[in-house]
């Protein structure tokens, strides 16, 4: 694997919260993509952490666009670059609300049309920018400002929806595993067509854990099996090392839930729901990897 470059494309003057894993994700995404890249960003935390006009903390062009519009905007950009023979990378960088909820129509359209771009969803499992309201991506049992008693429904299976479009490349990642994230972005950008990377993005104020624990939270998500690192290249699934290990010997779910205020007082039913979703996902991916389904 190539070394992670020293160049920085997200500079040291962001207005991100302390311990924000979104900015960490962005850092490795952009190092992998390099300078000939345009980021398309719908309304999300990243619209804010760039800083305030006329300044920006971003060292590549960033096109900020309306909430539901990112994938469609990127379709236009990708087509325009094709029209003039430019090879510039077009990357949508969107939160979970802008992806699984309001942006899913544009996402589906862009993937169905075979748009040449990379869509990255950084998922902090709620509407973070507006102060943590539930999204379709919020897991069962999590308290948000609009689910004060804990969410009664399970997390929307975004990856299954994206997989239904048969993209040439899709993967999950987490900035707690930076080399894995870096190489997945590089691999995605080496392939033509619509690519997708779903990144778990632990959020200290939203998940209510101490801000120095973001990297640890990402690792606990993977080790407990709540977040599975895998790739699907031209339909072939590979479960990545850390998740392979977690499937053999997971850390108890409680170790992941306990530090998070959002799961405080979670009901046994919601806890069972979380466990069953994680197990179902693991079983499905294992079968896919073995080529059974």
């Amino acid at each position: 694997m190539t070394d992670i470059p020293r160049e920085e494309y997200i500079l040291k003057c962001t207005s991100a919260c302390a311990g924000c894993s979104d900015s960490l994700t962005l850092r490795y995404v952009l190092k992998a993509a390099g300078p000939d890249t345009v980021l398309v960003v719908p309304a999300c935390c990243t619209s804010v952490i760039q800083g305030i006009y006329p300044n920006t903390a971003m060292n590549i062009p960033v096109y900020n666009v309306a909430f539901a519009a990112a994938a469609a905007c990127a379709s236009g950009m990708s087509a325009a670059f094709k029209a003039v023979g430019r090879k510039t990378n077009v990357i949508v960088y969107a939160g979970d609300g802008g992806t699984v909820d309001i942006g899913i129509q544009a996402l589906s359209g862009a993937f169905e049309r075979g748009t040449d771009f990379l869509y990255i969803c950084y998922d902090n499992e709620a509407y973070g920018n507006t102060g943590m309201q539930r999204s379709g991506s919020t897991p069962a049992g999590a308290r948000t400002t609009t689910t004060p008693a804990g969410k009664g429904q399970t997390k929307k299976d975004l990856d299954a929806i994206v997989a239904a479009h048969n993209p040439p490349y899709m993967a999950t990642a987490c900035a707690s595993y930076p080399k894995d994230l870096f190489s997945k972005v590089q691999k995605a950008l080496s392939i033509r067509g619509p690519k997708f990377i779903h990144v778990l993005s632990p959020c200290p104020p939203g998940w209510r854990y101490s801000s120095e624990r973001s990297v640890e939270m990402g690792r606990l998500a993977v080790r407990s099996g709540m977040w599975i690192l895998y790739e699907r290249e031209f339909g072939k699934v590979t479960i990545n090392g850390p998740s392979k290990a977690a499937m053999i010997k997971p850390v108890p779910l409680e170790e992941y839930l306990e530090p998070q205020g959002r799961f405080k007082g979670i009901s046994p039913e919601a806890r069972a729901l979380l466990r069953s979703v994680a197990e179902r996902n693991a079983q499905r991916l294992k079968k896919e990897e073995e080529g059974i389904c």
Binding site: I52, A79, A106, G109
Partner: protein, 370 residues
């Protein structure tokens, strides 16, 4: 070349000649033929564009925005509900200073479902920062579309332009069409703020109260400057191709004591009504407003005014009648007619003039005959 075409085909023919790099569009009655024809041109190789068959109008405008900001020419077309579904991005396109050209085939809004002509769809977008022109013939649909690219992309404008044509009355009517060899009438596009990865910039970044209003003022400044660019472009068009247009098309107005003001095809119908009235000895004239934005001056002083609005602002009135009351201090007889494709003949228009009641509002077909 002289041919016969529908309004939709005329728009598509002009787009082919303007040769946008990217066309993103979603079909909607009665605009459909425009996007079908463009798809045909692209498939046959007559038009070298990237054609994006998007999944919605919101995405159509979003795709045009993404394409346009890279510095290439873009086009889309829509109508009615489609225009309103993309409303958020219609604002975005103007705020982002992107010279996108869009044809809007004017159609009423539901419910109930109605596919026929009305101007309310585009009028509701009048405050978005788009220039808007309304045409009255197939020929004018073609000519205005060609001019729209040159006006939008002019360095003093850099705002999107909407070309409006009445649903079915123009979109599906066959009329003679003379196409031209455009030569260098539309210069190559040059967007000063195009994305350049060698010189990275933030676009649409969070903008505080200390800066935002300056950007709004900048839009208004360009909107004001656009009136001159429009005049210049229409002069140049007349010089090269022999057809002259003005912001307001005046007919028999010099000695007119009563003037009918209308837009789109009703503005043309009013000219026939004027002939009829003049035969009866009524000194009538008509003014067809072509540009809704920037809104023109009309010089109505000292005459009776009959305004026909094919639109309505509920709780306020006919948009053109109320606008002229504000900008011209006119006290018009405000006729609301033609909503949802309601038939309005030159006889009807002559009737409005004969029995005008300045200062009053009259809903044609609803209120007792005047």
């Amino acid at each position: 070349m002289l041919t016969v075409a529908t309004g939709n085909k005329a728009v598509a023919a002009a787009v082919k000649q303007a040769c946008p790099s990217v066309v993103a569009a979603y079909p909607i009655t009665p605009q459909t033929e425009i996007v079908e024809q463009i798809a045909e041109y692209v498939t046959s190789g007559e038009l070298k564009s990237q054609y994006i068959p998007v999944e919605s109008e919101h995405s159509a405008m979003a795709a045009c925005i993404g394409a346009s900001v890279t510095g290439v020419r873009t086009f889309t077309a829509t109508s009615s509900h489609g225009l309103h579904y993309m409303h958020e991005m219609v604002n975005w396109a103007a705020g982002a200073r992107l010279p996108i050209v869009m044809a809007n085939v004017n159609r009423a809004l539901g419910p109930g479902w109605n596919i026929w002509a009305e101007h309310t769809d585009a009028f509701q977008e009048r405050d978005t920062g788009w220039l808007q022109v309304y045409v009255a013939s197939v020929q004018e649909a073609y000519d205005a579309t060609l001019m729209a690219f040159r006006i939008a992309e002019h360095e003093s404008v850099l705002l999107p332009v909407m070309v409006n044509l009445d649903g079915f009355l123009l979109s599906h009517s066959m009329q003679p069409l003379e196409t031209v060899e455009i030569g260098d009438f539309i210069p190559p596009i040059r967007l000063p703020h195009a994305i350049d990865t060698a010189h990275p910039m933030g676009y649409g970044t969070l903008t505080g109260p200390d800066q935002y209003f300056k950007l709004r003022w900048d839009i208004e400044r360009s909107m004001r400057d656009s009136a001159g660019v429009i005049r210049q472009t229409e002069d140049e068009f007349a010089k090269r191709f022999g057809r002259r247009y003005d912001a307001v098309e005046k007919y028999q107005c010099d000695d007119a004591e009563v003037v009918v003001v209308a837009m789109g095809t009703l503005g043309k119908e009013a000219e026939v009504a004027v002939d009829l009235l003049r035969n009866e000895g009524v000194p009538a004239g008509s003014m067809r407003i072509r540009w809704l934005r920037p809104f023109p001056r009309l010089d109505l002083s000292g005459r009776d005014v009959v305004v026909i609005d094919r639109d309505y602002s509920f709780g306020f009135g006919g948009v053109i009648a109320r606008s002229l009351a504000a900008t011209e201090r006119a006290k018009p007889f405000s006729v609301i007619a033609g909503l949802g494709g309601q038939e309005v003949t030159y006889d009807d228009i002559a009737g409005f003039v004969r029995s005008r009641r300045p200062g009053e509002e009259y809903w044609f077909g609803v209120m007792p005959d005047v």
